[in-house]
Amino acid sequence: MMINILIGFGVALFGFVLQTSLGGINRKIIGRLQKRYGPKWYQEFLDIFKLLSKRAISHGWLFDFGVIMALGGIIATATFMPVTNSIVAFPNYDNFFIFVYLIAVGMLGMAMSASGSGNPYASIGVMRALTTMLAYEVPFMIVILTIIKLTGTSSITGIAEFQQLAGNNWFMIALPLGFIVSFMALMGMLGKKPFETYIAPAEIASGPMVEYGGKQLGMLFIMHEITVFIEVSLFVHLFLGGAENILIFLLKYAAVYTLVNLISNVYGRFKIDQVVKFFYKWPLLLAIVQAVIAVYLGWVI
């Protein structure tokens, strides 16, 4: 059991390093896209460590407790994430629903602490974050329901291994409509434009992050990086067939994240009711259609 827990924390640390580096690399790619040099690939590390070393303000015990709860919850979630078929901390217990809800604990902690700061921008930002979550989760979960029904298991490693079996395609190909819907949901989850409404940097002063500084902000950045890691690797395992070894995992992960970034960089930002209306129109319809044809009619490619 101790070994598993250590492996879990190792995964969390790996995820943090991976995502921070990849984030930096992506900033360089986007920079080049916009005909400029872009910052160094380790820029994000510098940002986080700078923040952690500064002294900041606090609005009370809940303000700090919420940040600790947020980071703690996300680290706990990350320990459950399988990296490849063999590197997984708790082999049988990596249920899909655990990820969805444990991320929610982290978010709740952050939301609590943000609202506890007393700044209305923070509450508005949290409100938008929750609304966005309501928007993208329902179509996403319908697609996941289809996947679970097809594979018969809700364990992430199980689903990944199912796709690696001979004769089975990756779900990206087998459930194309579902893939498109989930990709859009992934962009909502990551908070990338056009679903960046909950942070909305110039509009509501970064939303929940408005009152943070110093170590609290640094911890929240760490939390954000690990959250992105969890979400993108979830997507990799669910739709791209997981990974047999670490190199393939890195490749798939980098591909997904870079693609998301590239797409999001050509968009502006939706208003919050546009986000909800967007997700409840075509993505929901497509998800239901996909579920019907896959579960009831059995037309899987």
Binding site: I5, L52, S53, R55, A56, I57, S58, H59, L62, I68, A70, L71, G72, G73, I75, A76, T79, F90, Y93, N95, F96, F97, I98, L102, A104, V105, L108, M112, S115, S117, G118, N119, S123, I124, V126, M127, L130, T131, M133, L134, E137, M141, I148, K149, S154, G158, A205, V210, E211, G214, K215, I272, D273, V276, K277, I288, A291, V292, V295, Y296
Partner: protein, 608 residues
């Protein structure tokens, strides 16, 4: 005391004593309710869980008792809720117009509960069912608005009469009022009718769509302890009837192969889904914290119906576990709001804010309760939601699953609103000096309930083992559980592991936190305002129209149920007024005309 009959008589007599004592000194009368409900709970829990309840009846006429695992399950849960809420009675008793009667009615409802769950005779069940209806009916108007109790009575009696019709139907077929023989012996069209009638009764009591209209009104305008009893205890009567109808009555009707369900059960699942969606959507837009939690109760009632209609082991055990988890969480949340309302005299979130700083324990109680209600680990709500999801996905019910997910995520939204608008945010000046933490006697039940929330989430094995014995009694495959894990149909869950990892994660984050430089504490008003100077807290507190963007999207469509019921009431009134106008004139010739008409109808045709 081990004898059910003695327990019942004891509760009834102490009700009368509480009334008499309460006439002299109201607070002592209410303290009596604490003691009596505590004794009832302790007896039911101790003797019931050891299966040692005595069911012999010596004094009471025409009443017979039986102890079944289902009865003990519900009886212990509801009496526990009554016991916990009774701690609040002494502090609220001064707000009522009729103080002594409150204690009497409280204990009368409790006595009715014992009678309903622990009997094997339908007529006894109905006797106590109606007793609970009218004793809880008169508790409601002691709160804010009296007229809502009439709506409660109307819907409740509609449900009771459906139950009575089912009982009479079963009795006319089998010749007896015995519950088990009655449920098993009906067949054919009678079976379908009994099924539908029992479910109507369950829907009316649970407050599920379309019989939900009374629930938010009543729960908002009742006194705060009464709301907690309703949400945590009396609605579970509906769940009990639902279990009798859905699970004990062997299913019937057209079978849908692709979903592995009966059509009747599928329709029920759809109605449950509509309840979930309706409750969630209405809860998001509420400004009054109690009304919000009332809609949340409605939504959770929908979860219970969906779970029970699935019929599989994951579904039924998920539903039963949800009954426990929801009862505990909902009672705790309502008690927390009640503790706040007692001092501020309002539950509207637009008038409150920043309660956290003076009432931290109440805040933690509310936080833990909503984590459980939203179904987030490591609290009890996650286990039941996980089981329900297992059941729904396994049957491949897409639309029901969509509704369940929607309700699950939507619950994050509406449980967060009181947290942010009521407990967090700025401290409003009118309350800054006067608010204190709730008294310790009120804190005891809240803390106990929070601990239970955590225990049911981290170590559910004991309760699930008891539910397994219940499943045997209901002829359903047992749930596969080991000491630390639950095996569902498509995955395994280890709740303790999640809790441990969460604790370790928080510990690591805490280490990181304290090893860095200490922060400087600043005032709440000292925040980023883009260089504006603000001196009033109200302007800096975000609570009005919290979810305005999403509310605007569905605002035009939500009032159809209200319009329907008001139209119904108006139609009855119109019929009465019409007849009054035409027949009840003061002209004898009109009456003579009608008499002649009747005679003419008799003589029509080839009679004589």
């Amino acid at each position: 005391m081990a004898s059910l009959e003695l327990l019942l008589i004891f509760t009834l007599i102490s009700g009368v004593i509480a009334y008499l004592v309460g006439k002299v000194h109201p607070k002592t009368g209410s303290i009596l309710t604490i003691i009596v409900s505590g004794i009832v709970f302790a007896s039911l829990a101790y003797f019931g869980l050891n299966e040692q309840l005595l069911t012999k009846v010596s004094y009471l006429p025409y009443i017979s008792f039986i102890q079944t695992p289902l009865a003990i399950f519900f009886g212990v849960l509801v009496s526990f809720v009554f016991f916990m809420v009774s701690f609040f009675n002494p502090y609220f008793i001064d707000k009522y117009t009729y103080k002594a009667v409150y204690s009497l009615l409280y204990l009368l409802s409790l006595a009715g509960i014992i009678g309903i769950f622990f009997t094997d005779n339908f007529m006894t069940l109905f006797f106590f069912f109606e007793l609970v209806v009218w004793s809880s009916l008169f508790l409601i108007p002691l709160g804010r608005d009296e007229e809502v109790s009439v709506w409660y009575f109307g819907f409740s009696v509609f449900g009771s009469f459906a139950l009575l019709s089912a009982i009479l139907l079963m009795q006319s077929v089998t010749g007896t009022f015995d519950i088990t023989t009655g449920l098993q012996a009906v067949s054919g069209f009678n079976r379908l009718s009994v099924f539908i009638l029992l479910l109507i009764a369950a829907f009316a009591k649970l407050g599920a769509f379309p019989l939900h209209y009374w629930l938010p009104k009543v729960l908002t305008d009742s006194p705060d302890p009464v709301t907690s009893i309703f949400s945590g205890g009396l609605e579970k009567l509906g769940a009990f009837i639902a279990v009798l109808g859905l699970v004990k009555l062997v299913p019937t009707g057209f079978f849908i192969d692709v979903m592995d369900m009966y059509l009747t059960h599928y329709i029920l699942a759809i109605l449950g889904s509509l309840t979930i969606i309706g409750g969630t959507v209405m809860a998001i837009r509420q400004d009054d914290a109690k009304k919000l939690l009332a809609y949340s109760s409605m939504s959770n009632g929908g979860y219970i119906i969906v779970a029970l209609s699935l019929g599989s082991s994951a579904g039924i055990s998920g539903g039963l576990y949800h009954i426990i988890a929801h009862a505990i969480a909902s009672t705790a949340a309502f008690l927390a709001i009640g503790a706040v309302a007692r001092q501020t005299n309002t539950t509207k979130m637009s008038e409150l804010g920043g309660m956290l700083h003076k009432m931290p324990i109440t805040y933690m109680v509310y936080l833990i309760a909503i984590i459980s209600m939203a179904g987030i680990p490591p609290m009890g709500g996650f286990i039941s939601k996980w089981l329900i999801f297992q059941g729904v996905i396994n049957k491949g019910l897409i639309l029901v699953a969509a509704a369940t997910f929607f309700g699950s995520i939507g619950s994050f939204l509406y449980v967060f609103r009181p947290l942010a608008a009521l407990f967090l945010g700025q401290e409003l000046p009118q309350f800054k000096e006067t608010i204190k933490e709730a008294p310790i006697v009120m804190l005891i039940p809240m803390v106990i309930l929070s601990l239970l929330n955590i225990v049911t989430g981290v170590y559910p094995t004991n309760i699930l083992a008891y539910i397994n014995t219940l499943l045997v009694d209901l002829n359903i495959v047992q749930l596969d559980i080991t000491r630390w894990t639950i095996v569902g149909t498509n995955g395994t869950l280890n709740p303790a592991l999640i809790a441990v990892m969460f604790a370790l994660g928080v510990f690591i984050a805490f280490i990181i936190f304290i090893s860095l430089k200490k922060s400087r504490k600043v005032e709440l008003m000292d925040t980023y305002t883009a260089a504006n100077f603000i001196y009033t807290e109200e302007l800096l507190h975000y609570s009005v129209d919290f979810y305005a963007p999403i509310e605007r999207l569905y605002e035009p469509y939500i009032h159809f149920m209200k319009k329907f019921y008001q139209a119904l009431a108006n139609k009855v009134r119109e019929v009465g007024a019409l007849v009054k106008y035409y027949i009840f004139t003061s002209k004898p010739e009109v009456a003579t005309f009608f008499i002649m008409l009747v005679i003419a109808i008799l003589l029509w045709g080839d009679l004589v």
